[in-house]
């Protein structure tokens, strides 16, 4: 997937003036956030479960090599095969090889962010395979040739009229004059079209919400049922999952599931939670004949070893973006890659490079809402701050910002000078704003005062007051 994160400022500017997108984002505010709060209220243990969810993830990460090897062993016991992909291109090749070996032509996919991350669809299509997304949102954006704009609601930016237009354009075998306006009509048409694909697929590819080491199971959590049809009806099931998805036991998985759906959509539990262990057994009437799991690193081990380790706890619920005022204003596409919102602001610089994505951790007001709602309590603002430091060290901050900081440090390192300057500034501001008690314009801060006034300082500076009181 092409990275457009370097153009964040321009992307965000366009998003802010896109009335269609703004309408969609408004809906988001009343939806997931409110539902999450209600679900949390109804489970008295919710906060304690979040603590445990964090501990489970931390414990697993501290023993990651052990649980990955155990997972591989157990998948083997069940008759499946684990493949290890150090980076995106290795993962793409492994999946392509499995598809070729299976003699596959038609590949169906359940929703998977990690396959977006490695650009799997383009690669398979470039090698002559037909790839069909089956999650309704993913199907819509596949027709539109767009990237997802939210990790659990990928087509949240698209209106029903646009969906209707896309369906008419692509489903050319159907009666052109059919009614196709209401969400129900659109869903029924997609259901009918995709059903035919489910029944004729050669390979089904899904992601995984969790990998359970003790049993060698891959777990998907869905509402539509498309992931289950994808992994049940094709002859070959390929799971693509990044290495931090592994958890020790079903008991640990249960704890994480209890916080996942509630944080994501506010449901007590998503409709389908499916534990798949190996290929179909002797006597099973259906299920895949071959079962593969591709374990992907692609930058995770680097995060494991530095100050960003905590981000690997993420279970991809999307609650950080649902509650983020910046995401709520500019939407997902502005972030310019697979993972938008606060989690994207921390992951994207790590996975595509800080030189391309340094705008993202800077696009935050540090209101802290993301950390407040994160089911595994990732300190997202702190991690964004680490990226800001790194970006600054890499010389990414604009010249004006560097100049400003230099001036400030000149004063900050000389307390006497600092006190004198703040005293003078305070007096000057009081003089300028004497009439109104506030200032609506300031030199060099036009961007700040365009939205708000600066109240005039009330009198002596803090350090003057402090010294007076002490003496």
């Amino acid at each position: 997937m092409r990275v457009t994160s370097p153009g964040f400022k321009a992307n965000a500017g366009r998003a802010l003036t896109d009335p269609q997108l703004q309408k969609a984002l408004k809906r988001l505010k009343g939806g997931f956030q409110v539902a999450r709060l209600k679900a949390a209220e109804q489970l008295p243990e919710f906060e304690a479960l979040r603590d445990q969810a964090r501990e489970i993830k931390d414990f697993t990460l501290a023993h990651l090599d052990f649980y990955l090897e155990l997972f591989e062993e157990r998948v083997g016991f069940a008759g499946g095969k684990v493949h290890w992909a150090a980076n995106a291109s290795a993962a793409r090749e492994i999946v392509l090889d499995i598809c070729r070996e299976a003699g596959a032509k038609k590949i169906l996919k359940g929703k998977s962010m990690v396959t977006e991350e490695i650009g799997l669809n383009d690669h398979l299509e470039a090698h002559g395979l037909q790839v069909i997304e089956t999650d309704l949102g993913e199907y819509i954006i596949q027709l539109r040739k767009e990237p997802p704009s939210h990790i659990i609601a990928p087509a949240i930016h698209v209106s029903k009229d646009q969906v209707s237009e896309d369906f008419r354009k692509h489903h050319t075998d159907l009666e052109p004059k059919r009614p196709l306006e209401e969400p129900r009509e659109l869903l029924d048409e997609a259901r009918q079209i995709l059903r035919e694909h489910f029944l004729t697929a050669d390979v089904g590819i899904t992601g995984a919400n969790f990998l359970v080491a003790a049993s060698g199971s891959s777990v998907i959590v869905t509402n539509e049922g498309n992931g289950d049809l994808t992994q049940t009806l094709a002859k070959t099931h390929i799971v693509v999952a990044s290495i931090e998805k592994v958890v020790p036991t079903m008991e640990d998985c249960a704890t994480l599931l209890r916080v996942l759906s509630r944080s994501a959509t506010g449901q007590e539990l998503s409709v389908y939670t499916t534990f798949s262990t190996g290929p179909r057994r002797a006597g099973d009437p259906d299920g895949p004949v071959d079962y593969h799991v591709v374990l992907l690193d692609n930058g995770r081990t680097q995060l494991l070893g530095n100050e960003f380790r905590e981000v690997l706890r993420c279970i991809r619920c999307g609650s950080c973006m649902n509650s983020c005022p910046v995401y709520g204003a500019v939407g997902g596409h502005a972030y310019g890659w697979v993972y938008p919102g606060p989690i994207g602001a921390v992951l994207t610089p790590a996975l595509v490079g800080v030189e391309k994505a340094w705008h993202l951790p800077s696009a935050s007001s540090f209101c802290g809402k993301c950390e407040e709602v994160c089911p595994v309590r990732i300190p997202l603002p702190k991690l964004m701050r680490h990226w800001r430091e790194r970006a600054f060290e890499a010389g990414k901050a604009p010249a004006t910002q560097r100049f400003g900081l230099k001036i400030w440090s000149l004063f900050a390192r000389r307390p006497g000078l600092y006190r004198l300057a703040t005293r003078l500034a305070s007096r000057l501001l009081r003089m300028l704003g004497r009439k109104r008690g506030s200032l609506s314009k300031l030199p060099l801060a036009g961007g700040w005062t365009s939205e708000r006034d600066l109240p005039v300082p009330p009198g002596p500076t803090f350090s003057d007051l402090y010294h007076r009181r002490k003496s």
Binding site: A24, R27, G31, L43, P44, L49, Q52, L64, D65, F66, L68, E69, L70, H83, W84, A86, A90, T134, L136, G137, A155, K160, P183, L186, L187, R191, L194, R195, S217, N223, E224, G225, N226, D228, L229, T232, I243, T249, M250, E251, D252, A254, T255, L257, E268, L269, V271, Y272, T274, F275, S276, T277, P279, G283, D284, G287, D297, T301, L304, G305
Partner: protein, 225 residues
């Protein structure tokens, strides 16, 4: 391919600042798997008898499943017939090859006993267990239960004996480990309500790719157990 394995495991260990875990530590971690420790289990499901069944019914309905209570197995065919009549459907069903279901009197029905076909609208199956905490059915794959039966037909009618209801997910895993000591079945599917999507303008719609309706026929067998 094993190159990828060595690279990743090497990087993990480097990041963790150590070599492979010493054998005694590995043994300790492995011994924890044989007797998996429960984390905090919500109190909500800590009930028994009719209260537990009541919680299941409440939670399943909250997830938009329909629940009908029957006093014994012999009432199942009639309940299915009434459901089909109410929904103006012909008496055609796709019946899972489970002995308890097959033994019932399906006189008057057209019964298909193989994998679901395109035209099959109604599946009647059993289920392994249920977790009351969220009204969740636990359905397992096996010779007597094709996974596609739960997913392809528009209507899924599930027969659940009340004695199979447990309070929590953990309780259902304990049952599963008793029934399948070596490894879980290929597919363990938790179903909480009928399929749905909010992908078009966040408008919730029931019946996405899976069943449009989920009807639970709950058999009150608590006294027999």
């Amino acid at each position: 391919m094993s190159a990828g394995r060595d690279i990743i495991l090497g990087r993990v260990r480097k990041a963790l600042g150590r070599g492979p875990l010493p054998p005694e530590k590995q043994l300790k971690l492995r011994s924890r798997l044989a007797h998996p420790k429960r984390n905090l289990v919500p109190q909500r499901g800590d009930l028994a008898g009719p209260e537990l069944v009541g919680l299941f019914v409440t939670m399943a309905r909250k997830a938009d499943a329909e629940v009908e209570r029957l006093s014994d197995w012999s009432q199942v065919p009639n309940a299915v017939r009434q459901y089909l009549d109410r929904n103006h459907l012909p008496l055609n069903i796709n019946l899972a090859p489970e002995p308890l279901l097959q033994a019932l009197d399906w006189d008057g029905f057209q019964v298909w006993r193989d994998l679901p076909r395109r035209e099959d609208k109604v599946a009647v199956t059993g289920c392994f267990a249920a977790a009351a905490e969220t009204g969740t059915l636990v359905v397992t794959s096996g010779p007597e239960h094709a996974t596609s039966l739960n997913l392809l037909p528009d209507h899924h009618l599930v027969v659940l004996p009340a004695s199979r209801i447990r309070g929590s997910y953990e309780d259902t895993w304990d049952m599963l480990r008793l029934a399948y000591p070596d490894a879980p079945p290929r597919t363990v599917l938790w179903i909480t309500g009928p399929s749905r999507t909010g992908d078009i303008e966040q408008t919730l719609q029931l019946g996405a790719h899976g069943p449009l309706r989920l009807q639970i026929l709950l058999i009150d067998d608590l006294d027999d157990a």
